[in-house]
C-alpha cells in the first residue's frame, strides 16, 4: 500500500506505538495515509480501535516475518 509518511515503532511496546501514531498523524494533512511499522502484536487490535475512537480510517494491515505494517488514513 502507498503511504505519505512512515512511522517506525518496531521494538516498542504499548502505549508507544499508539502515542507516536497520534503525534505523527497531527503532522499529516487530511486524506493522507500513514504507514506504521510495529512488532508488538497488540497493534493489530489497538490500531483499529484507535481509529474507531478518533474517527480516522483504518485501511488495513500487512504482516511479514514478525513485522506488522498498519495503514491509517487521516480523516479527522
Amino acid at each position: 500500500m502507498k503511504a505519505d509518511a512512515t512511522l517506525d515503532c518496531v521494538g516498542l511496546y504499548c502505549p508507544m506505538p499508539i502515542h507516536q501514531t497520534a503525534n505523527k498523524l497531527k503532522e499529516l494533512k487530511l486524506g493522507q495515509v500513514l504507514e506504521v511499522l510495529a512488532s508488538d502484536e497488540g497493534i493489530k487490535e489497538d490500531a483499529p480501535a484507535w481509529c474507531r475512537t478518533t474517527g480516522n480510517e483504518f485501511l488495513g494491515m500487512e504482516e511479514k516475518g514478525g513485522e506488522i505494517k498498519v495503514y491509517i488514513k487521516k480523516t479527522k
Binding site: 521494538g11 516498542l12 511496546y13 504499548c14 502505549p15 508507544m16 499508539i18 502515542h19 501514531t21 497520534a22 484507535w50 475512537t53 478518533t54
Partner: protein, 158 residues
C-alpha cells in the same frame, strides 16, 4: 468539547504508576482531556528526585525520610526484594525499550495530561509545593477532582 478521563493515583508503587501513565497517555492519544489526581502514597510519584524534602516535627521528618519518593525511587508492589526485584524489572524494561516511569510522566505531560496534587495529603505529611516537580499544574482537593470526574467518561482509581 473533548471527553474527560480522570485517574486517581493513590499508590506510590512503580508498577501501578506505569499502568496509570500508560492509561493517561492512551487517553490523550484518543483525544481525551486527561487529569491525574495524585494523593497519599501517590504523591511520591510526582515528588522531585533531587534535594531534601522539608517538613517540620520529628514524626513528619521521619515519615518523609522513610517515604522519600520521586519517580526514580518508586518500588515494585510485588517482588521488590529490597530493590533487587526493581533492578531486574528495570533491566527487562530497558531490554525491551520500555519507557521508565519518569519518561512516561514526561510524555504524559507533553501530551497535555494535567497533574493535580492533593493538598490534604500534603498537609498531613507536612510537605509543601517545593517538594514537587514543576509539571504539577494544580494543587487541590476532592472538589477539584470531582469537578473533572463528574463529566468524566472514564474515572479510575489506582
Amino acid at each position: 468539547m473533548a471527553e474527560k478521563m480522570t485517574l486517581i493515583v493513590f499508590s506510590g508503587d512503580m508498577d501501578k504508576a506505569l499502568a496509570a501513565f500508560n492509561l493517561a497517555i492512551g487517553g490523550a492519544s484518543i483525544g481525551m482531556e486527561v487529569s491525574m489526581f495524585f494523593t497519599f502514597w501517590g504523591l511520591n510519584v510526582i515528588k522531585k528526585n533531587e534535594g531534601p524534602i522539608k517538613s517540620k516535627g520529628i514524626m513528619r521528618k521521619m515519615l518523609n525520610f522513610m517515604n522519600r519518593g520521586g519517580a526514580k525511587r518508586l518500588g515494585l508492589s510485588k517482588f521488590h526484594m529490597f530493590g533487587m526485584g526493581k533492578w531486574m524489572m528495570g533491566k527487562l524494561m530497558k531490554d525491551t525499550k520500555s519507557p521508565s516511569p519518569q519518561e512516561l510522566m514526561t510524555m504524559a505531560h507533553q501530551a497535555g495530561v494535567k497533574f493535580i496534587a492533593c493538598t490534604n495529603s500534603m498537609g498531613t505529611m507536612g510537605i509543601g509545593k517545593d517538594a514537587f516537580i514543576p509539571e504539577v499544574d494544580t494543587y487541590g482537593g476532592v472538589a477539584t477532582y470531582l469537578a473533572d470526574a463528574k463529566d468524566g467518561r472514564i474515572n479510575l482509581f489506582i
